[in-house]
Symmetry: C2
Subunit: 334 residues, 2 copies
C-alpha cells in the first residue's frame, strides 16, 4: 500500500539527490513518475533497478498523484505548477522559495517544527539550504537561553547553483591551473580560487535574497518574528556542503558545556567538537551526510551571553532532498 | 644618502614580496643585505637589476645595519634574532607575532597609529595579515560611532601559510580534478575544494591563535583594551588575499551613508560598494593591491546601531610586506 509520487525537476542536482534519498530511505512508493519541461522529456533516469522515462509536463500531468515534489529552479515555475498539482489532488512539497514565507504554507524542518506540517492546505515548503542546518542548532539554543542576536557568515558551495555551478567551478579550476583565462557565467565572478560575497540577487537594504532567506525563514520556523538575525552569504570554491560561522548573543547566560549538551541532544545534529584532537566538521567531510554537523563551540571570555559555533550541512541532502523526503514521511506517517 | 637595510627571510613568500615593495616604492637604500639560515645561504635573489647573494646569519651578521626586517616563520626565531640586531645598532621591524603584544613594542599600521612608531626602543612589530585591513576600517568607524561589539568571520588564503601553502593548494586541486587522493601537510585537512575552520593552533577558550591575534592586536592598535571583538578564522582555497565578513554594533546610531563617507575618507581604504552594478571586492581582484578594499556596507533594517561590511586585503602586501615597508618609511621620514 504505497503512494503515487511525482518528482518535477528530477534531472537537476537536487532532483537526482531526491531520487537517491527516496530509494535509500525506502519511501513507500506505489508509483514514481518523473516530470520535466519538454526539453528534458524522454530522458531515462535510473531509480533502484529500473529506468524511468521523464515525462513532459502538460495537461493532466499531475492526475493520480498523491504527492508531488517540486525541485525546480525559479520560483515562478513553482508558482505555476503547484496550484495545478494541488487541483489534481496531490500534496505538493516545494523545494524552492515561492511559498516559503506565505503564512498559509508550512515551512518545515522535521527535527524542529514537525507539528506545522499537519496544518497544510495542499502546499508545504522546504527551507533554503543554509536555513536548515542553522535552525537545527538555533531552535534548541533558543530554548536553552533565548536569542538576542544572531550573526551568520556563510561558506556556500557551488552546488547551491546546481550541476552547472559545479561544472563551472571544475572548469574554472582547470583553467587557472593551466594558466588559461576562464569565464564566469553561472557565478558573477570566477569562483575557482576565489570567494564571492554574493549569492543570489541583491535586495532590500543591500542584503542579497540569499541573506534575506536566512533571516526571514529562520524567524518563521523558530516562531520568532522579531529575531535579529543577519547574514553575509558568500560563495566558496567547494563542490558540496555549506558551512556557516555563527555568533549568538543570548538572553540568559550559558556555558559552552550546556550548549554542547543541548546540541548533542538535538535531533539530527552531530557535535564534532574536539579541536585539540583536530575534530571539527568541514564541507568535504560532511558531503553525503543527512545531518547538521557542529563544531568550534566557544564563548568570549567574560561574556557568558555569547556563543560562537561552526555548522556544516550537505546542501543537496539535508539542505534540500533529505529534508523534503523527511517532510513526505511526516505526511504519510512513514 | 640612503640606509643600510637587512632582510631576514628574503626567500619566503613575505620576504620576496618585501623586496618587490622596497624596489617599487623607491625606498632610500644605501645597501641591501639578505640574511637567512645556512640552509638558504648562497642562493641568488634578484633585486632591481642586480643579483644579491643570501648570507648566512652568524656572528656579526647584523653589523652596520641601520634597519632590519624580520620576515621569518616562527616567533622563536624573531625572539632570538631581534635583540641581536638591536645590539648591533639596527632598528628591527618584525613581521611575526613575537613582540606584537609586548607593551614596550609599538604595533603599527601607518594609516591608523603612525604616532606610536616614534616610541620604539629598537623593535617595532607589524600586525597580523587579517588585523591590518580590519583596523583600517574599524579605526574611523570607532571615531564615528563607537564600537560596542565586533564579530568577524575570515576567508583566509593559502599564502598565509607561505609558498608551501600555495603549492599544497595547487597540488591538491590538481589531485581532486584528476580523481587522485591527495595529502595534507601544511594544512590540517585537504584545502582544495574545501574550507577549514582552523588557522594556526588552538588556544585559550577554544579560539585559535589566529583568532586571538585578531582580537588582541586590534585592541592594542585601536587603544581599546576592553573591546569585545571575536572571530572565526577560516582557511579557504584561494592563493592570495584574505577577506573578512565584519559585523559591528556601535555605541551611537549611524547610517550606511555616514559609514561609507567615513571609510571613503580613511587613508588606505578603497570603498568598492555598488552591489546593484556588481561592484564589491573579491580576493582574486584585490591580489596585488596595497590597500584595504571594502564593500557590502549595509545595516539591519530598524537597528541603526548595526553595520555589516566585507573587507579584502592582499595578505602578502598590505597584510605584511607593504605595511612593514611603510613602517620603515615612517622611521626614515621618507
Amino acid at each position: 500500500m504505497g503512494w503515487s509520487v511525482g518528482v518535477v525537476g528530477a534531472t537537476g542536482a537536487v532532483g537526482e539527490t531526491l531520487l537517491r534519498v527516496l530509494a535509500e530511505r525506502g519511501f513507500p512508493l506505489d508509483r514514481l513518475r518523473l516530470l520535466a519541461t519538454p526539453h528534458s522529456a524522454g530522458r531515462r533516469v535510473r531509480f533502484r533497478d529500473t529506468d524511468l522515462t521523464v515525462e513532459a509536463i502538460g495537461p493532466g500531468a499531475f492526475a493520480g498523484l498523491d504527492l508531488c515534489f517540486l525541485a525546480v529552479p525559479g520560483a515562478h515555475v513553482s508558482r505555476e505548477l503547484a496550484p495545478e498539482a494541488v487541483r489534481a489532488g496531490a500534496v505538493v512539497i516545494d523545494k524552492g522559495s515561492a511559498f516559503r514565507l506565505d503564512p498559509a504554507v508550512p515551512l518545515v524542518v522535521p527535527e524542529v517544527n514537525p507539528e506545522v506540517a499537519r496544518t497544510h492546505t495542499g502546499i508545504l515548503a522546504s527551507p533554503n539550504c543554509t536555513t536548515i542546518p542553522l535552525v537545527m542548532c538555533l531552535a534548541p539554543l533558543a530554548l536553552l537561553a533565548g536569542l538576542r542576536r544572531v550573526v551568520v557568515a556563510t561558506y556556500q558551495s557551488a552546488s547551491g547553483s546546481g550541476g552547472a555551478g559545479m561544472e563551472e567551478l571544475r572548469q574554472g579550476a582547470a583553467d587557472v591551473l593551466a594558466d588559461r583565462a576562464g569565464t564566469a557565467e553561472v557565478f558573477p565572478r570566477r569562483l575557482a580560487f576565489n570567494v564571492i560575497p554574493q549569492c543570489d540577487r541583491f535586495g532590500e537594504g543591500g542584503f542579497t535574497q540569499e541573506e534575506w532567506k536566512l533571516t526571514r525563514e529562520s524567524r518563521k520556523i523558530l516562531g520568532l518574528p522579531e529575531l535579529r538575525l543577519a547574514a553575509t552569504a558568500v560563495r566558496v570554491p567547494v563542490f558540496v556542503s555549506h558551512a556557516e560561522a555563527v555568533f549568538i548573543e543570548t538572553a540568559s547566560p550559558l556555558t559552552v558545556e550546556e550548549a554542547r549538551q543541548t546540541l548533542r541532544a538535538a535531533p539530527g545534529v552531530v557535535v564534532e567538537d574536539d579541536p585539540e584532537r583536530g575534530i571539527y566538521p568541514t564541507p568535504a567531510a560532511v558531503a553525503g551526510s543527512d545531518r547538521a554537523h557542529v563544531g568550534r563551540l566557544r564563548q568570549e571570555p567574560g561574556d557568558p551571553h555569547t556563543l560562537h559555533f561552526w555548522v556544516v550541512g550537505d546542501n543537496l541532502r539535508k539542505g534540500a532532498a533529505t529534508n523534503a523526503v523527511q517532510m513526505a514521511e511526516l505526511l504519510v506517517g512513514a
